[in-house]
């Protein structure tokens, strides 16, 4: 697996797939039994490169009796900033993560979402080249998730390289240039979110409205379902024009025609399902 300079790379996988383990290996929190990893051209055992890396741990937790300002000041000290620089950076980061009014409160009074924001602030405090975020949206409400998404996009626009793990697939689809899918401890695929699942459409979806008393064409009648005020029908690409002609003949008003593509979620669920089926088979064979 390789993450290119300046890209946003999403590490996807279900719980227990090995996403956090991979990130912990990169950050030197645990050690590999085999193999090697390099970041910014250096082996991961070299902590000097941590100057250029920002890391948000999964469900971050900090010192209970310190305030957010003090904790951020503590982390800023490792980067050798002067007192004035530290003060400025800490305030800027608190503002960026929406904690400017809570900077003087001890962290034991913080909610999980607020701690997540402090975690994000300490990860980007020193303007790192590479930002590694382990489940950055975890524990956040929709507003918080949106804010984190904005911060990631801001970092991306600033040319930073971002590696983040998530099991929230829409976030990965929105933010990532490429994704890597881990399931059952193995990397199952790497590529652009669209490419990894294949770009080929699996069918066409037609949304339409029909006047009261009008009859549906015989060819599609069985597949039509109600959708809000109108109807929906899925047909194969080769059957699209026949279906449209039939609907026009019936006096239907076509509101939408769209390709049906497999989503990242479909791909993800298929992998997970395959793994679970294999795991069940192993359990049966070992009994």
């Amino acid at each position: 697996m390789q993450v290119e300079d300046g890209e946003v790379f999403g590490l996807l996988g279900p719980n227990g797939a090995g996403k956090s383990t991979t990130i912990k290996l990169l950050m030197g929190i645990i050690f590999p039994t085999a193999g090697c990893a390099r970041m910014l051209g250096k082996p991961v055992s070299d902590v000097s490169m941590h100057r250029d890396i920002g890391y948000l741990p999964e469900q971050p937790y900090f010192y209970d009796y310190l305030t957010a300002t003090e904790v951020l000041d503590y982390f800023a000290r490792f980067h050798g900033y002067s007192a004035a620089e530290r003060g400025e950076r800490v305030q800027k980061m608190l503002k960026k993560v929406g904690l400017e009014t809570a900077g003087k409160i001890q962290l034991r009074k913080y909610s999980k979402g607020m701690l997540q924001r402090v975690g994000l602030a300490q990860a980007i405090l020193h303007d790192p080249k590479l930002v590694i975020l382990d489940e950055p949206m975890s524990g956040l409400d929709p507003v918080g998730r949106r804010e984190v998404r904005d911060v990631i996009l801001e970092l991306k626009n600033a040319g930073k390289t971002i590696l983040f793990s998530t099991h929230i697939l829409p976030d990965a689809e929105t933010l990532c240039d490429r994704v890597g899918v881990i399931a059952g401890g193995k990397l199952r695929g790497v590529g652009a979110p669209g490419a990894i699942v294949g770009v080929k459409a699996t069918g066409m979806e037609i949304l339409f409205e029909l006047a009261e008393g009008a009859t549906l064409p015989e060819t599609i009648r069985a597949q039509v379902t109600k959708s809000g005020a109108g109807y929906r029908v899925s047909v194969g690409e080769s059957e699209l024009y026949t279906a449209l002609e039939g609907l026009r003949a019936a006096g239907a008003r076509i509101t939408s025609v769209a390709q049906i593509r497999p989503t990242l979620e479909d791909f993800f669920m298929e992998l997970v399902g395959r793994d679970r089926a294999q795991a069940a088979a192993i359990e049966v064979s070992t009994q």
């Binding site: 929190i29 941590h50 741990p57 971050p60 900090f62 310190l66 503590y74 982390f75």
Partner: protein, 258 residues
């Protein structure tokens, strides 16, 4: 500021705000206050009683803080994963460990100094003066502090490779064994097989000699403490801590954190 000092400063700040520490120091002052009362009813030997009780209180409370906080220094950081963000900074694991140790050592020094001030205050309340001979109490307090620093180093070593409960038990056990090192050495001249004599000799030099730090009797009776003992105990603590912390750093640097 070096990275060790950054961690030490943070450890000190966190410890100072922890209410458990205040409770313990408050308890020490309570014991010193009770020494005041006991001293007043011990006709003629009030100073001896007060110094003995006061120093015992400082030692006991200090030991509780050293063992429990010392074990928690690393294990709590691992458990709560507070150290994950710190280790993602340009900080080596040994620097983190030594910084934590230094932070707690400074905390203990401040606590011990506060409790010693309480003891001297109690002595002054009873005698309305502090004699020059009572300066030896300061040496006794200094020895208590050295002992506590060594206990912290041991607690940190054990917490690097075992559970907090076992680390507390191991540290407590080693402390108790270390109190009897001189007795172990005298066992060599009794009726033992040569192998057993060698075994006890080795053990008596490997175990931390906590008996050396106990000068409470001399302090209570105003007897002088030799300068060479002060130098010996200081160097012994520095060397023993260096060895214990090196071992802890080697273990901690290879440890998979959860």
């Amino acid at each position: 500021m070096s990275r060790v000092l950054i961690v030490a400063r943070n450890t000190f700040r966190e410890a100072v705000r922890d209410r458990v520490l205040y409770n313990l120091v408050f308890f020490a002052f309570l014991m010193i206050a009770s020494a005041l009362i006991v001293g007043q009813i011990s006709m003629g030997i009030e100073t001896v009683v007060m110094i003995n009780l006061g120093l015992s209180a400082i030692s006991l409370i200090g030991l509780l803080i050293a063992v429990f906080t010392g074990v928690g220094l690393v294990s709590k950081e691992i458990d709560k994963r507070t150290l994950h963000a710190a280790l993602a900074k340009p900080l080596r694991r040994w620097e983190f460990l030594v910084g934590k140790f230094a932070g707690l050592a400074v905390t203990l020094a401040v606590n011990t100094a506060a409790m010693a001030t309480g003891l001297f205050l109690a002595l002054w309340l009873v005698k309305h003066s502090i004699a020059r001979g009572e300066a030896v109490v300061l040496v006794a307090v200094y020895f208590i502090l050295l002992k506590l620093i060594l206990v912290v180093a041991l607690a940190m070593l054990f917490s690097c490779f075992t559970s907090p409960l076992l680390a507390i038990l191991f540290t407590g056990g080693l402390y108790l064994a270390g109190l009897f090192v001189s007795e172990l050495r005298t066992l060599q001249v009794t009726n033992l097989t040569p192998e057993m004599q060698k075994f006890f000799a080795v053990i008596s030099y490997v175990l931390p000699n906590f008996g050396n730090y106990d000068v409470m009797g001399a302090a209570a009776h105003g007897r002088e403490i030799a300068g060479i003992l002060i130098l010996h105990n200081t160097l012994y603590t520095v060397l023993y801590c260096a060895i214990v912390l090196s071992a802890a750093a080697v273990i901690f640097s290879r440890k998979d954190l959860k």
